[in-house]
Amino acid sequence: MTEHTHTKCEELLGSLSAYIDGDLNPELCHELEKHLAECDNCRIVLNTTKRTIDLVQTPLEKPDLPEDVRERLFKRLNLDHYLTPKPK
């Protein structure tokens, strides 16, 4: 574990998230990419941040609504009449 203290890294850290979202202006984007090419630590932070987001978005993270919760919801909304098996 290394303490990450480079001044440039700290300046660019705030742009990392926008960079991942493709939402960074071209000038900053260029500056960040130039820095990433030289700085192992920032590259690691970028890669692991991207991976973190990927992991959270995996389908396993998205369980369906339990059937009994769905039934109570339909009843509460007076939609019992439409309570057919959920379309797949």
Binding site: L13, S17, T48, K50, V56, Q57, P63, L73, L83, K86
Partner: protein
Amino acid sequence: MNKTTPNEISLEALIAGDRAEFARLVDEYSSPIYRLGLRMLGNPQDAEDVLQNTFLNALTHIQHFEGRSSLATWLYRIAANEALMLIRKKKPEVNLEDVEGEEEAEDLRPTQIVDWSALPEDELLSGEGKKVLDAAVNQLPESLRIVFLLRDVEGLSIKETAEALNLTETNVKTRLLRARMALREQLSAYYSERLTARSEK
């Protein structure tokens, strides 16, 4: 007005009070809204309250839906409000408005610099890995968690997240960065141990 979602839910029919169409809307969005409630409140009973109140509210107000945002964003907005209201009621000590030191990057400074990003998927998503991830998300402060869930879990854009939460886009971006960095730190601490364990095998 003739807007339809990818699953062809007709806004026109909803506004006209078509109950069958509303039932389809419920089926389309109840899972993500329940998930959001579960992640924000941390228990199934409260999540169910958020879910029911969201659709009761939507049913009451659908006639006045003006289409300024998408139907999905409108529903997420109601759901987020319901979830935050319930948190205010149950945990009045939680600060939902401002994130302390929002403009300061200092506490974002990464301390875990280990590249675990190339670990294989089955190892990253092992039962234990999933638990660590879940716990890390649940530990985020509520004001960051809701932004993270809408943007990174449910896939809303920055603009839609801002609309749903009544925040500026800048504010959403700042909170998102903080949430992502906090999660990265937690996962890095866990996976770097896994990496060490692998190299010792």
